[in-house]
Subunit: 500 residues, 4 copies
């Protein structure tokens, strides 16, 4: 019988009992590997209530003591790394070594959370006026929620809840229903690490659960990562309901290749950045802008050579470079984009369709695909494909490349390949993108910086994880204090007071 996955509430697994089960597929085989219960509204409410009940005691726990849980969690994540990666790979399809990279990034967010006593420091000002001191405290919000996508089932939750709970909040996580098991297992590890029951709760569900979270008046804030249309809808709804919200959406990340770039490095970098995790990363490079035809021609040759040797196969085999797409439906979406590229007269250099992996004939495998001579009006340029499809445009100079990037709807990540200091500085300054790489194809900020795109890649003003997450998950409280002398007589002041 298929294993059934339920919820994690109040420090323990809650087995399915509401009857609404959906299948989880192994994308490498196409087979159902588990079933997950879509939590009923009552169950979601129970999770929220539990989190609310746990809040006062957790809020009163000193940050340094909270941090002990994070220190232990780091150990447990490292200790159980193989199991977590296996769960990720089985449900998501990505190759194990890639799952390992994902988990490592998640662990780094836990490491950052260990430093919370330092990060939560408020600002203290002696003598803002005669005998008057002022300071601010960053206090927790209460119950906050996270809604996370399928493509990084372990990492993106770890962007959110470790920081949120270390700030003193309690948390309800709704992971993707396509691959929830790693997040659930990590919640168990958190409990083992000493996290008090109710501080972290995981509920599975679909739009109904999301709506419940967005409408509930207990939830104070929502962090979301997913596609832009959903991010926008969630941001609006959360804002409408008086919650603070940060909603991270889609991307179309461009790499500019300058004539002075080391092409061997560029090709290696692009192969990983475009096709790693089958292109299902919001930081994947999906557009390459070749500055000059010489660069374009050379890239076309070298990339297509590399694509030939790319090893596509099941996620559980570490010798593979790339695994399957997440689902049959998504396979079709990506294939349709390829078709649209052809029909809009882009130059299809490598066609990943029709790939069959021996022994995994029902897996959702699509080979690495490369288009050249793509034009800005084409759908394969305009839209986020979220698959192993790299499109190349030829541009005459760097300014044209920067213009293209700045005119695009998305502004998540970008990269410039060059050796030239001036070009790099100009690019960093001018490009309308939140995360900028110079010779770094996937400029995902390390855990002690913050992650966020610009334009329609992020709704909200604070970025994810790192320093911004501390501000997002806390409320500023400003205190002004003065101790009166017993015998001091003071005249009433009817003017607006100026301390200084």
């Amino acid at each position: 019988m298929t294993t059934q996955v339920g919820q994690f509430i109040n420090g323990q697994q809650v087995a399915p009992q509401d009857g609404n089960l959906i299948d989880i597929h192994n994308p490498s085989t196409g087979a159902v590997c588990r079933q997950v219960e879509m939590a009923s509204s009552a169950r979601v409410q129970h999770a929220i209530d539990t989190a609310q009940a746990a809040f006062p005691a957790w809020r009163a726990t000193p940050p340094a003591k909270r941090a002990q849980v994070m220190f232990r969690l780091k150990q447990l994540l490292e200790q159980h790394s193989d199991k977590i990666c296996a769960l990720i790979s089985e449900e998501h399809g990505k190759v194990l070594h890639d799952a390992k990279g994902e988990l490592q990034r998640g662990i780094e967010n836990v490491e950052f959370a260990c430093g919370m006593p330092q990060l939560l420091k408020g600002e203290h000002s002696k003598d803002v006026g005669p005998g008057i001191d002022a300071w601010c405290e960053f206090q927790p919000l209460g119950v906050v929620a996270g809604i996370t996508p399928f493509n990084f089932p372990a990492m993106v939750p770890l962007w959110m809840w470790p920081s949120a709970i270390m700030c003193g909040n309690t948390f309800v996580l709704k992971p993707s229903e396509k691959d929830p098991s790693s997040a659930l297992f990590i919640a168990e590890l958190a409990a083992e690490a000493g996290l008090p029951p109710g501080v972290l709760n995981v509920v599975n569900g679909d739009k109904a659960a999301v709506d419940h979270l967005l409408e509930d008046s207990t939830i104070q804030a929502v962090s979301f990562v997913g596609s832009t249309p959903v991010a926008e809808a969630i941001y609006k709804k959360a804002s409408e309901n008086g919650k603070r919200c940060q909603a991270l959406g889609g991307a179309k990340n461009h790499a500019i290749v300058m004539p002075d770039a080391d092409l061997d490095n560029v090709v290696n970098a692009l192969m990983g950045a475009a096709y790693g995790s089958c292109g299902e990363r919001c930081m994947a490079i999906s557009v390459v802008l070749a500055v000059g035809d010489e660069v374009g021609d050379a890239l076309r040759v070298r990339l297509s050579q590399q694509v030939e040797t790319l090893k596509v196969g099941a996620g559980c085999d570490n010798s593979n470079d790339m695994g399957p797409l997440i689902s049959e439906a998504h396979y079709q979406t990506v294939a349709n984009f390829i078709e649209s590229g052809v029909s809009q007269e882009a130059d299809l250099v490598c066609d990943g369709r029709g790939l069959s992996v021996e022994g995994y004939e029902n897996g959702y495998f699509l080979g690495a695909t490369l288009f050249d001579h793509v034009k800005p009006h084409m759908d394969i340029y305009q839209k986020e494909i979220f698959g192993p499809v790299l499109v190349m445009l030829r541009v005459p100079d760097m300014q044209s490349a920067v213009n293209l990037i700045n005119e695009h709807e998305y502004g998540n990540g970008t990269c410039l390949f060059t050796r030239d200091g001036e070009a790099a500085r100009y690019f960093i300054d001018q490009v309308q993108v939140g995360m900028v790489g110079v010779n770094v194809p996937l400029p995902v900020p390390v855990s002690y910086h913050s992650f966020g795109g610009w334009k329609r890649s992020l709704f909200g003003d604070l970025h994810a994880y790192g320093p911004d997450s501390v501000r997002f998950y806390t409320r500023r409280k400003a205190v002004t204090q003065r101790w009166p002398s017993a015998n001091l007589r003071e005249g009433s002041q009817f003017s607006f007071p100026s301390h200084s």
Copy 2:
């Protein structure tokens, strides 16, 4: 003929020409003192376009050079202080010494903005990975808007635009149409201080202008201060239109008076905090919670004695303690609240109605009003009155007082009067309010801290002015940089990269 006030666009006054003029009254006399043009949609658009045109050059101006404008503006504000205060007092009604206090606070925001080179520093990390550096830059957003209330016509605009433009943005301000002249005059001073044309623009208008700003796609962010219903509506609309927004709303600020408090101090503090500026301050104390009847009885006696001696009169006479309300309509609203208090059986100790100021018989004067034995269900307790009406409730102990505050809709400011360190610490920790005073009746944070309430007193996650404003008015850009060796060959990496 009545002076007609227009807009301030592209570095100069734009005389009314669209024909839609409304009257500005002097609340002390009831007479029309000016007329202000409600900007047409085309005019608002012109202001936005002007700001957008000024953006690239201003963004490229080094912050230390931008700051020179602020240094000069501080001088000019001090130099023209009498004129500014006269404008404030004439159109708003507050007494000149109170206008001076307001302006002083505004100047302090300009002083803070002078320090922007220090405040804009990003975080730099060497060696986030082998040979890889990362840093963040806080870049300006573009054109941002501010919508400000009548009660601090000079100060609240200065909360916003100095910080915003020092971050490199350009600005469109829409001040209150009831008293726009001080903000317009200050914009002229900014131009005199060297602010390039188009960086700061002021448009007058009503809901139509506000809607234009909220719907325009050029505007990147909106700062608002006003009543809670409008704040909420603006926050929703701005969020819906993809803008970042901070919307500060109303308040019902409670002061708790403990039995160990020095009552002379308390009474003096409460008189100013409740009746200063006629109670038209979002930080006014409008509720006093007497802990124990002994305190309550004593306060009742002393407050009513003080009310007797309170001098109410025209704003232009510095010997007055309190001026008129802003308008006839608002006078009626406040008077209705008093009536409702009586009809809901609160104990009306001092009744400010029926006051007539000699020589100013048409002014909107309402005397200081005090209710005792008010109950939580009454409208005069639940609602923000925004007038010189102080309501007292008797509570048996401090916990009851804290509970009342935490259950109230608003969470802007609050104050505890005590000598006891433990009581203060408990209060600071537990109270669900953004700005907390200990023996400081109006705990408005100084300019180098940030201003913001909790609950329905603020929509958004970042507070006004101070450090939070720098984060609000900038976008974080995360850069990751690596310089390749010419001869280095690197294998493609298909796993998700971990720098460390």
Copy 3:
């Protein structure tokens, strides 16, 4: 045969071979428990050379990777906590539960060091001039040394080297020759945690070793904790030799007891703070200032009652409150102080001399001692005794108490017992002491703040551990960068340049 302790160099124990062995006594029994080799000059030089050799690779290791060693070290310290505490207790004499407290504090310094990637961030300024950026990096110094005292043989080394090496330095530690074993064992744990050989080295020795470290030109900085005369000498010598130095010295920490203090709490707090670890703590309370005779009389009665019930005995027995002094010589010093108190006519309320602990007759036990009516001129007030001797002075008011503290040679720690907010604020503001407690008898800053006294309690400008330690163990490097356009011609500038 007695175990012989050597050095820890280049990642491993170096057995004694230079022949210069001295005895380590167990203060509870008086017996020799180990012998420790005083490193020869060649051996000390070897440790320095080893540290220097390890520097380039360690400096180039990304901070986040360095931090992995700290994460593992924390685990190992917790795992081997019993063994470490046994070593501490055996060689120092303190009771095991007290050793546990010491170790816990040391572990917290390791936790702080785990956050180094965040702490090492430099400041980045875009556009300090047109097209010019500037930032600073905090780079390691090279080889640094720590010289630590007997009284916290595990904790004080952990104040220093975790922060120092996480900043990228390599380290030579010279622990106290009286109880070196816990520091040596912890160095082994660090190696087990993955610290590369040579990054941390431990040499045992006396003044000759210290002088070697202070004179060697490779050593860049010295951290010292010990008595004031030695601290001063070390600071001068290090400064003379061009090293940066922080040298923490002695203390005479006063507690003020106000009439409104809760005396039960005060007495409990004072008992622990005065007699814990036999008073051999630089943060021990050794002077109590009773404000008013009523307080003084009450304290005298209650403290002497408590002293009666104080359980003094061997460090290995966790039921004891207090163990022996560190050595026979130190016993004599403390006993002489008691004698001097008597001869200078202080009022000896409790006399700890003549105590004999059954089964431990050769231990260096001295009972808790209390003097009342002590005067400022007496030696027992002027000098640091570093034993279980508490002296009480009667003062008429708080100002007199503050004056006494401010006139004393030392300024390490102090505490005020009161309930009064105003008294606390005044005390914090006015007292010339580096670490101030309000109702906290031992105000040792937590690991994410910094530790340091004022006046002759600290030589140097930066405090120990916490944020100051990051600044102490790094050099600021300021970078100003501009990328020229190829074709830009610029005139020479002979004036001193101003970027803005």
Copy 4:
């Protein structure tokens, strides 16, 4: 009669009365332009006593109020800029436009000091333990002293005292006796700006005055800028006397010119950086390292061409590029260096000796001098010349250049000219120098960063001005606070306390 310059004590000029007058020469004419009194020991003591007397009230003045003085001082410095520059130029000899650059930099330090309320913020931690809060305050030291050099008579004092006094200290400045008038005049402006008497005092003198300052027990800290031998002596003496000290010394700043550098830019940059202010700047470029003979040959040609056109003459004529040296004695020192270069067989390309300026035949003029093919062992390479002498070495590659820099005694400033991002990053990382420029010849950090060299260019751990100066001029006070419940009974704790 020659004007006689005295001291500035307690808010006013003190005319000479002690009789010990020395001449101030105008280096452009060689004539005596003023006489300055060397303060007697009693006078120096009076300045110290005055500063001490002013300390308590100034310390208690809120930082925001102190800052008002800085805001006004900035205005006054701008308003009196011509007079200040005339004084600088007359006594120092530098050309007026260069004096203007100097003053501008000094004003920027005043601007930084205006932001002190923000900069003085301490760190506040809620809940370091159950119910325990902790924070730190940065409190002033007391009376601090500054000793400044002749080469930037207005700027270097402004590096020090604005920051020091804004931190709440009071100050005694001893400027160079060669050109004290600008510093004295600026002190008058500070008084005019509202600085209370005694907060800033200026005493003139020589080694006797310096020794007095270093030996006086009231002085808490000393900032010094001058030559390395004096810096070292002052650092040792101050340290010996228990003062904190930062002593900035000499320099030999190397510029590396890479083959890909834009030579037109390089030549322009080097001309200004080597010969501006006659080379009497601690940030002057005095060594150029040409990478490859092609670069070396080209630089030799172009630099010598530029030297031909360099206009040398009186400081008061703004058309000049370079003025005289500071004194006849210094002229001889520099001339001797040139002679030694010749005798050690360096290749003298341009010889500045024998220059005569028409109308200024008694001025201390030395023309721009260029040596090529200099070797590392030569005195003109090893020693700081502090004159208009640029020496060029040829090196085969960048690594050789970096090695030379790292082996030199000094480590103040350096610059790399290149277009290559990798070269820049390697240089920044590896070079053992405190202030690093990339295509910026004089990488003096802007006022909101800090200034300091490495190796024997700076003694002390904190750099001058900017953020480090705030730490240097304050003492950290760590507060730990807990408020007891009245009825709480707590057991004594004899173990070392761990808050968490």
